[in-house]
Symmetry: C2
DNA sequence: GACGCATCTGAACGGCGTCAAGATGATCTT
DNA sequence: AAGATCATCTTGACGCCGTTCAGATGCGTC
């Protein structure tokens, strides 16, 4: 009984269990949050036995890594779009920052998995850099466009890091309900994001006052 | 058999199991990291049965909350000290930021518990504010000292939030080994922290260039 | 001395991550 | 076409987890 699927030549028994497991994990993540993401629950959701995933992932962490990788791809895409749509040169950095925080707001569980520090250990968070169109490079190149000196490597990396830290910090705290009154007072959530970024030189080279 | 302890009138059987459990949790946290912090392991470390903690904490989360609260106290103290020791008015914000990140670096597991998003849910992270000498107020008051307009409430809250987000973001990413070469190039870890903060208006009102 | 009650223990339940042994069935060889 | 091969999946088990509940323990009070 072969269901309709884009099965090419890869898999044997199931169709493509690896793909199905990642999809099941993302489905559970969106519906029930990160705490509901047990390996057994993912297998259950995909309709296989609890031991089946071990033929496609070394352990639970490796499945989470695969999910996180899709998250990084989505984030890179979101930043690319935001960068392309921003009008003025000065706006691009702020647009990038807002897009980053909006991505975290719209995919909170996925964002948590991406930054989950209980995995990684040594080698993995290379996604923050080096893949050419990675989110990190998006930020760095936009900084250069906005006038940063591309010759000062250390300074450029520091500025990129500063922007990244600011965006990540805001992304993690933006959902705290202590900021609700601020969001109202300033006229919306994205205005709040923008207002925070205005206090960082990297996001607003000119005086906001 | 009563050991020497500052037992006043509170506890009955053990001495002060609540206190002992928190201490055991912090011991495990420092030695084996957050993943080793199971309720059973804490009870084991404290020398009691797995069910004993339930007479002092509603569930595991409430124990974690108690541990986190001590972390917030420590952080507030660290920021108070840093603020007192900073020399110039302009230096105070940078000193505060560096002290914040150093706290997270020196107590990584505790810091994670403090910001663990799997608990809280609704009401808890009030520690970010309002306790008079809270870390949040330390930052806000220092901003006023550095020249921020205390009359512009919204602006002041935005600036405080911006500083907090930047420090938190850096605190979470400072241990990524991608920054190792930058730390070396710039002459040490704290110089790296300072270098990142220099790209935020809130931390350096005057031009660093 | 007897009672009450907070405190702690022991045993149990379901769920978890993981592994070893066996069943299943698609592909390859002849 | 038939059998061998091998990745794939299932079954069942192990130890650990959080949590609950009935019962033991012993302090404070009357």
């Amino acid at each position: 009984m072969r269901e309709a699927a884009a099965a090419e030549s890869r898999p044997y028994h199931h169709g493509d269990l690896r793909r199905a497991l990642i999809d099941a994990a993302r489905r559970l993540l969106e519906s029930d949050g990160p705490s509901a993401l047990s390996l057994r629950a993912v297998a259950r959701e995909a309709g296989v036995s609890p031991a089946a995933p071990y033929h496609h992932f070394k352990d639970k962490g490796e499945l989470l890594d695969a999910v996180a990788e899709e998250g990084w791809d989505m984030l890179n895409h979101a930043l690319t779009s935001a960068r392309a749509m921003a009008v003025g040169v000065k706006d691009k950095m702020a647009a990038l920052g807002v897009a980053y925080v909006c991505f975290a707001r719209d995919n909170p569980s996925l964002y948590r998995v991406m930054y989950d520090g209980s995995r990684d250990k040594e080698d993995l968070p290379e996604h923050l850099k080096m893949t050419e169109d990675s989110a990190y490079c998006q930020v760095r190149d936009t900084l250069v466009e906005a006038g940063a000196d591309p010759g000062d490597e250390v300074g450029l990396e520091l500025a990129t890091t500063a922007a990244w830290c600011a965006a990540h910090g805001l992304a993690e705290m933006a959902s705290f309900k202590q900021f609700d009154h601020l969001k109202v007072a300033i006229g919306g959530e994205e205005a709040f994001f923008r207002g925070v970024f205005e206090h960082m030189k990297i996001f607003a080279q000119d005086e906001p006052k």
